[in-house]
């Protein structure tokens, strides 16, 4: 099996598995809110976990909130911020290439009367910063919502420039950053970046599903999404799972430890695939400066879904956001927004890698592509 769909999800690493096993089998782990020794112990471990994660992300421990997934983090951040900070403005600036978790929150806020300004993006997926500057100068902008690494193309946001603009023009504007696909793929220093809220997901970095994080800068106040027992400084009620927190911590520390080596390995794999695929008339849709972990490529003569199923025959797993149905063809909105031709976008397939992928797999992939062209291509 060759698994090139790591941006969809990853399998839990051995380290993560053994932590989960340990927690399931060994002891009765207490409720971190309980006053007896079991509770106190759980609380201590939980805080340790928060501290370690915070350190790896360049934040303070009490700025780390555990959630169930990045979608929950996005909802909490975006909706919670504008709900709490009504006086900071009625405008939100974003792009149409965000993840649905962001776009659907913004659509909801639009219905509630907020004005959402969607900046156009260029071919490399980068938002138009000139327009951003213009809009910020007009005032009344409560929030900026952007994605650090795009999940479909791997394109990287010029976040430093955006933060600079905000600091220069509109200090009351908060920045929410979706860093789900950036985690484990690049060094993240949250305090250094200067963003206000940021979401992460564990299962994209070899943790288990059900683990999300919201970074909430200590000076930023938001309304919670979930009300209840007031856990996590009332920002996310519900009994904390020490097991899931530990799983996230483990996955993150493993990712951090292997990041430099893995980055250069994956960069080689990416470069190899790009050069081989171009020889086969494929169009590379990921920008040149994208993270090497994501490679979006359009194969001529194969609609996305057909290519996905062809690869599946050879036990190679990739992803497509373009699904064709007999009536309406669904084509990736991210690619269309980035100015990719509809016909090319309809054939787009996303390969996404993790540190467990190898050059041998990449070679096998190319061999398989040749075989697929020989066997399944229908020439018009």
């Amino acid at each position: 099996m060759i698994y090139f769909d790591n941006s969809a999800t990853t399998f839990p690493s051995e380290g993560v598995r053994s932590i989960v096993r340990e927690y399931l089998e060994d002891e009765v782990s207490g409720n971190p809110g309980s006053l007896h020794t079991l509770g106190v112990k759980a609380d201590k471990l939980y805080r340790e976990c928060q501290t370690n994660i915070a350190r790896l992300l360049g934040a303070d421990a009490d700025e780390i909130i555990f959630t169930s997934c990045a979608t929950e983090s996005a909802n909490t951040a975006i909706r919670g911020y504008v709900s709490r900070n009504k006086r900071s403005g009625n405008k939100i600036i974003s792009t149409r290439t965000e993840h649905k978790a962001t776009l659907e929150c913004l659509a909801l806020l639009e219905k509630q009367g907020f004005e959402v300004i969607y900046l156009p993006v260029d071919k490399a997926g980068k938002p138009n910063l000139g327009l951003l500057e213009e809009e910020l100068s007009k005032g009344g902008v409560a929030l900026l919502c952007f994605t650090l690494v795009n999940n479909e193309t791997g394109s990287v946001l010029p976040i430093e420039e955006i933060v600079d603009l905000r600091n220069k023009i509109s200090r009351q504007t908060a920045i929410y950053l979706d860093a789900v696909q950036a985690l484990g793929k690049m060094k993240i220093d949250l305090h250094g970046l200067g963003v206000d809220m940021c979401s992460f997901s564990g299962h994209k970095i070899h943790s288990v599903k059900g683990t999300g994080i919201l970074y909430l800068k200590s000076s930023v106040k938001i309304d919670p999404l979930i009300y209840g027992g007031g856990q996590q400084k009332n920002m996310r009620s519900g009994t904390q799972s020490l097991m899931l927190a530990k799983a996230f911590e483990k996955a993150l520390s493993e990712a951090a430890a292997s990041m430099d080596d893995s980055h250069s390995d994956i960069a080689k794999i990416n470069a190899y695939l790009r050069s081989e695929l171009v020889k086969r008339d494929a169009v590379i849709l990921s920008p040149d400066d994208a993270v090497p972990y994501v490679l979006n490529v359009s194969f001529s003569g194969f609609e996305s879904e057909t290519m996905l199923h062809c690869l599946e025959i050879y036990k190679i797993y990739v992803s497509t956001v373009s699904a064709c149905s007999s009536k309406a063809k669904k084509v990736s909105y991210v690619l269309l927004e980035s100015g990719v031709d509809r016909k090319i976008a309809a054939n787009a397939v996303r390969l996404s890698f993790s540190r467990y992928n190898t050059m041998d797999e990449a070679k096998e992939f190319i061999k398989t592509i040749d075989e697929i062209y020989d066997t399944f291509l229908v020439k018009h």
Partner: protein, 401 residues
């Protein structure tokens, strides 16, 4: 008192000397269909079939709500017109009154909106001391006294209190309509060409309603169509088999045939040549299974391959009759039936014909016979058909297990 199902027969009662064989088949189908509802006694009096639990505590007969599931199952058996849940009891008029009050109490609990009623009575047991009009009058009076909120309305009542005095006494209200038709098994077997669309399951349903047991064949073009498309076809086969009984679904691996065809046949004739091969494969599978006809969901003029000329061009490759129950039907009418039989929501799932790669942009809508000969001259049709028949996976679909 116990509850019993009363199912009414339709067209069968018009049969002559062979009526008995239709009734035997119907009872056997009911028995098979209702297997999961416990030990049942199924018997017949004139044009009615009675279904009664052998065990007193059978939960499916306990209340009107409990009985919905088994009644629904009865309505899926062709040959039945309608079904009602009745109270069965012994005794004189006092017992009738007592049971009627209990029955109306339960009815009003489920339907508090009911305000008017009438009593309808039939007396088969002539030894009963009151005649039908007397029963109606006296029972109507008792109901009015006991349920002050109810009024009599003989023209348009909210519910009818049916009373039947026979070997036992029976009381019931309302009925669930069934799909009529003839019991499956009273006609020869058919091979249904099942796609993932709206039409073919309806075509299968319609032929089953004329007593025809079915097997089905599906042409699978993985990886051009997905595994989900196959799952969807299995689901549709299961829905149809809810009416037609156990069936074998033949999944023909069609990918290679389609690719070869694509290479060697002119684009605008592709749909016709493809359908000709499909029909031949289906016919061979039909012969193997003892089927006597093929069934398709074609409707005249609906798409390019369903013009009269195209149908003639595909029809000529097989000897078996090809039944097309939808041929003169409007799409809307087909959709209505599809909804009625619970297939529509599955049929419109988006996986079908996912890849349009094999469909020509401008297919010939009125092919001449010589076009067909020309289109197939470079193709070894016999080898293709043989490969199709041999490359088939059989799946047994049994919805009642």
């Amino acid at each position: 008192m116990s509850n019993i199902l009363l199912a009414r027969m339709g067209e069968i009662t018009l049969k002559g000397l062979n009526r008995g064989s239709f009734e035997i088949q119907l009872k056997s189908n009911l028995k098979y269909r209702l297997k999961k509802f416990g030990n049942l006694k199924i018997f017949q009096t004139q044009s009615r079939i009675w279904i009664e639990p052998v065990d007193e505590d059978n939960p499916y007969f306990a209340t009107e709500n409990n009985a919905k599931e088994i009644m629904q199952a009865v309505t899926q058996v062709f040959g039945i017109v309608s079904v009602s849940l009745a109270r069965k009891f012994e005794g004189g008029f006092d017992a009738v009154t007592q049971n009627a009050i209990e029955h109306v109490t339960e009815l009003l609990t489920n339907h508090p909106e009911y305000k008017t009623f009438k009593v309808d009575s039939k007396r088969g047991n002539k030894a009963f001391p009151m005649n039908s009009p007397e029963i109606c009058t006296e029972l109507g009076y008792q109901i009015l006294v006991n349920f002050p909120g109810l009024k009599v309305n003989v023209k348009n009542p909210d519910f009818i209190l049916n009373v039947e005095i026979r070997d036992y006494n029976y009381i019931y209200s309302g009925k669930m309509m069934a799909h009529r038709g003839l019991p499956v098994g009273t006609s020869g077997k058919g091979m249904l060409l099942l796609s993932g669309g709206i039409d073919s399951p309806v075509a299968g349903f319609m032929m089953a309603s004329r007593g025809m047991p079915l097997n089905a064949v599906y042409f699978h073009s993985y990886p051009y169509t997905s595994e989900q498309a196959l799952d969807k076809v299995k689901d549709l086969a299961r829905i149809v088999s809810g009416f037609s009984g156990r069936m074998t679904l033949h999944v023909v691996n069609f990918t290679k045939i389609q690719l070869d065809m694509y290479k060697n046949s002119p684009q605008d004739m592709l749909t016709i040549t493809m359908r000709r091969v499909m029909l031949q494969i289906a016919e061979r599978l039909a012969v193997k299974d003892g089927c006597k006809c093929l069934i398709t969901g074609e409707s005249l003029g609906q798409v390019a391959s369903q013009t009269l000329e195209a149908i003639a061009a595909t029809n000529e490759v097989v000897k078996m009759p090809v039944l097309r129950p939808l041929i003169g039907m409007d799409k809307q009418a087909t959709c209505d039936i599809s909804r009625q039989i619970g297939a529509f929501e599955t049929s419109i799932l988006p996986y079908e014909d996912c890849c349009t790669v094999f469909v020509a942009k401008h297919p010939k809508t009125h092919p001449h016979p010589e076009d067909v000969i020309e289109a197939e001259k470079n193709i070894d049709i016999e080898a293709m058909v043989e490969a199709g028949v041999n490359g088939t996976e059989d799946i047994v679909i049994n919805p009642f297990d």
